[in-house]
Amino acid sequence: MSGGIDTGDTAWMLIATALVLLMTPALGLFYAGLVRSKNVLNTFMMSIAAIAVATITWAAVGYSLAFDGDGALIGGLGNAFMQGVDFAPREGTTIPELVFFAFQATFCIITTALISGAVVERMRFAPFLVFSALWSVLVYAVLAHWAFGGGWLIAGGTLDFAGGVPVEMASGFSALAAALVVGARKDYGRQALLPHNAVFVLLGAGLLWFGWFGFNGGSGFSTGQGSVLAFTNTLLCPAATLVVWFGLDLMRGRKVTAIGAATAIIVGCVLITPAGGYVSPGWAMLLGALGAIPSYGIIVWRTRTRVDETLDVLAAHGTAGFFGILFIGFFAQEAWNGVSDGLFYGNAAQLWDQVLAVLAAPAYAFVATFVLLKVIGAVMPLRATDREEAMGMDVVQHGEEAYVTGEGAILLLPDDHEKVAVPVADPG
């Protein structure tokens, strides 16, 4: 390998990239369990679609806009269509830029997939594909540039280890905007719309947690101390969130719920995402414990409103990302991260840098997503008709069902397609 490449770091980053890619199907499973059985495939397919679309847009322009150069607001087009992305080490790392590109691509993919949680069960598939393509460039790449790629936030000193800004707050606040533009499901607030398979939800959350070790542990781009700290904090913080969530569930309903636990795993992982490599293991556990409370509160509050942000992306990702970014401003510790102290260790300036991020990122994500969906909505209908919504998006959008029995299905041979005459009663 060429100079400056570390084989150990590269080996770990190859694995971490695959771990993060697994998170998107895991998210699909998590989301699929949370919807009704007639919308399972459509919900899962939105995550799969994000892998397809966001990978292509990332290779075309997204990566370049995020990581080429250090413009304040946006990167350049020097790496468009992967020009110059090769075996040479990415600046500031000891891994080939190809690996760095792929690792960052998986972040863009999962973030795009996350937003689908706000619009499942009624948004049409075609406009979601268009939205994914445009959002991954216009929102994700821009915020990734601000926080990771040399933009004004990272240049100003904002600390964001693995994506509190471009992944968590971006998806959470975009989800809120998407829910407002697309509108509530027709039966929302009138009928109980319940998760159809809690086991999928738990398994999806478990697989997400597994993948998150690559997400946070890989965000140091090495096997160095930051990565090791973030890796271990990814175990500690969600465990603390789970325990506190159990307590909140007990206080509220006298029972610990399974879907609550799955949600807590996600919230805990999100909380530690920005802070992973910057806070000590002890503070990581405190972060997990305290951070459970605002997300829990937002979930309880949101379901009482008319806002059908269906799978609570705002509570799980937006709120927890917001909290995690701010937490760094208080409890970052140079003794652990080698970069900067927070307010608690005498550096108030760090808190200010973090406050800038929690003001700017949600505002940009919300406004940009709102406008983007309004524009797409002007060109094509965003949502299915009430009738289609009632039938379920699986049959309407994909012509398949998740739990088909095959009973009474008549096999159509290729030349049968035109004459649909089958020996049955004709209603007309």
Binding site: D187, Q191, R387, A390, M391, G392, V395, G399, E400, E401, V404, T405, G406, E407, G408, A409, I410, L411, L412, H417, V420, V422, V424, A425, D426, P427
Partner: protein, 117 residues
């Protein structure tokens, strides 16, 4: 006494329930059934295999009522179940010989009239 059987679309089941509650019909059972009523519009493809779905998911309501309640029940089933498209389902009203409430042993009219405590 009659047994009213209503077979409706699953997606209308909640509307039917609401209509039945509004009509103060309180005792009924509901089950998932698969049926065929002439509609053949659902074509699905699984990899290379294209199939036409001959059976559709339906919800079957069974309501045992005293004679006074027959019209109200039928009306509620129609109101809740109708979309106007092929596949809305059917209602059958059949005579009922005998009914018993297991808990008390009440029979016939007494068994199909809801207890008001």
């Amino acid at each position: 006494m009659k047994l009213v059987i209503g077979i409706v679309r699953p997606e209308q089941a909640n509307q039917v329930l609401e209509a039945l509650y509004r009509a103060e019909v309180r005792g009924f059972s509901m089950s998932r059934v698969q049926g065929h009523g002439g509609e053949m519009d659902r074509v699905e493809t699984y990899r290379g295999t294209t199939v036409q779905m001959g059976l559709s998911e339906k919800m079957r309501f069974e309501v045992a009522v005293s004679d006074d309640f027959v019209d109200k029940t039928v009306q509620a089933l129609c109101e809740g179940g109708r979309t106007g498209e092929v596949g809305d389902g059917k209602i059958f009203v059949v005579p009922l010989d005998h009914a018993v409430r297991i808990r008390t042993g009440d029979s016939d009219e007494g068994a199909v009239t809801p207890v008001s405590k």
